[in-house]
């Protein structure tokens, strides 16, 4: 499962709000730093497992796997993340 940010969405830094945002037609999602990092790896080059591994090496949390899965499932339901076959 290789996730990627959908073509209609754009991840960018918002200097005014001091956080990353995910923009899409007529809406936006404000991201916390971890979510932004996860989405930054959703480029069609990293599998979900690789993303979890990358984050686990930086953060000591037992819930990284769940965090990644929850975030991606939520965004996939909105069509903001897609999966390459």
């Amino acid at each position: 499962m290789t996730p990627r940010v959908a073509a209609k969405a754009r991840l960018q830094w918002d200097g005014l709000r001091n956080r990353h945002i995910l923009l899409y037609p007529e809406g936006l999602v404000a991201l916390n730093p971890t979510a932004a990092e996860i989405l930054g790896l959703c480029d069609g080059q990293h599998t979900v497992e690789e993303i979890v591994t990358a984050l686990s090496s930086k953060y000591e949390s037992a819930e990284i796997t769940t965090d990644v899965q929850t975030l991606l499932a939520g965004l996939a339901a909105k069509g903001l993340v897609t999966y390459d076959a």
Binding site: A7, L23, Y24
Partner: protein, 356 residues
């Protein structure tokens, strides 16, 4: 395009909308908007593709990181122009269609435009744009809700917006010819629910409620002066695209004031911001944090006072004015005799109706 439900002001052909902002002025205004925290830019109109500098405007928006949406009729819009806009950084395209077949769509539009729209839909998808199909619903096309959803599905659109007519501008003028029956709306809503189940997240179906037929008003613009700015071609700044009709407000122009001052300080934006302005029944109503008292424009247009509860609200003393309009459709013959009576949105009619 001459759609009789156009939300443009009746006097769009008048002096108030002459003297459009230049390319440089628009780019400055985009920057001011960005600095205020704006992240979404809708390029609308009128018809935004009539601006020869549209590509340049899109490029300015892209440089600022604004997520740009072109809202167009696609009349005479060619693939090469769309490709140029894509290269400049345009993010998203919304193209209207008036019905699911050429004959009805062209009749409602008052222009032979259906084939242009279909070509533009395909070009939009081929170029990799996310696509929203925009449809305004009313008495003459509500029977086609399913056909329109199927059309959007075939076109590969991300979204279809099925917006029941809101009665402002030309739609208010043509209200008697456009107002649907309760039965039509119920049938349309049933189709939407069924198609949502069938399509899941393959196609997002947005259904904009017909507020005359609701018991409570819409949360108009998410609250006055809360999240939205309209800037007219000539630089006037409105809290929504209909607010310019409210004669008791004064509107500032980006040629005279910084956008930040207009947003924070100007009469038009501060008058109805928050809930301090609210009269009863809104003031003591628990719904005021959900619907913000409804729509100020509708209060002005129907009750003659922008500072009263939206007349659509069942708690409003003005609700009988709405009920009477809805009842006319239910009591009538289904309205077929009246359908020819609408006035198309066109410059000569605009000048005639606004005495300009």
């Amino acid at each position: 395009m001459q759609c009789p439900y156009c939300s443009n002001p009746l006097d769009f052909a008048g002096a108030r909308f002459k003297g459009e902002l230049t390319t440089e002025e628009w780019c400055r205004v985009f920057r001011e908007a960005h600095d205020l925290g704006v992240v979404q830019l809708g390029l609308s109109g009128g018809e935004p593709t009539l601006r020869p500098d549209l590509t340049e405007l899109v490029r300015c928006a892209k440089q600022l990181g604004l997520y740009s949406t072109l809202v167009t009729s696609a009349y005479r819009l060619k693939r090469a122009r769309l490709a140029e806009l894509k290269d400049a950084g345009l993010d998203h395209v919304q193209i209207s269609v008036q019905a699911a077949d050429a004959e009805l769509s062209d009749r409602i539009a008052g222009a032979t435009s259906f084939d242009d729209k279909m070509a533009a839909y395909h070009a939009t998808r081929e170029l990799g744009f996310p696509l929203t199909v925009n449809v305004v619903l009313h008495r003459e096309n509500l029977h086609q809700v399913e056909a329109m959803i199927r059309l959007a599905e075939r076109l590969g659109a991300e979204r279809i917006e099925l917006a029941n007519t809101q009665f402002y501008g030309w739609a208010l003028h043509n209200r008697a010819a456009l107002m649907p029956s309760k039965a039509q709306l119920a049938a349309g809503w049933e189709v939407v629910q069924r198609e949502r189940r069938r399509l899941g997240n393959r196609l997002e179906i947005i259904w904009v409620l017909p507020d005359y037929h609701e018991a409570f008003p819409k949360p108009c613009m998410g609250g006055w002066g809360n999240a939205y700015i309209t800037i007219t071609p000539a630089g006037e700044v409105w809290p929504c695209h209909a607010a310019g009709r409210i004669k008791t407000l004064t509107f500032a122009n980006v040629r005279d004031h910084p956008l930040s001052w207009i947003w924070h300080e100007s009469d038009a934006f501060t008058r109805f911001r928050g809930d301090g302005w609210m009269p009863e029944p809104c003031r003591s109503c628990e719904r005021k944090t959900k619907d913000f008292g409804g729509c100020r424009c509708q209060a002005f247009l129907i009750a003659g006072d922008a500072a009263v509860t939206d007349p659509v609200c069942s708690l409003s003393p003005h609700r009988p004015l709405i009920d009477a309009v809805v009842a006319q459709v239910e009591d009538g013959d289904g309205g077929n005799a009246e359908s020819a009576a609408w006035t198309y949105r066109a410059a000569p009619a605009s000048r005639l109706l606004s005495g300009g």
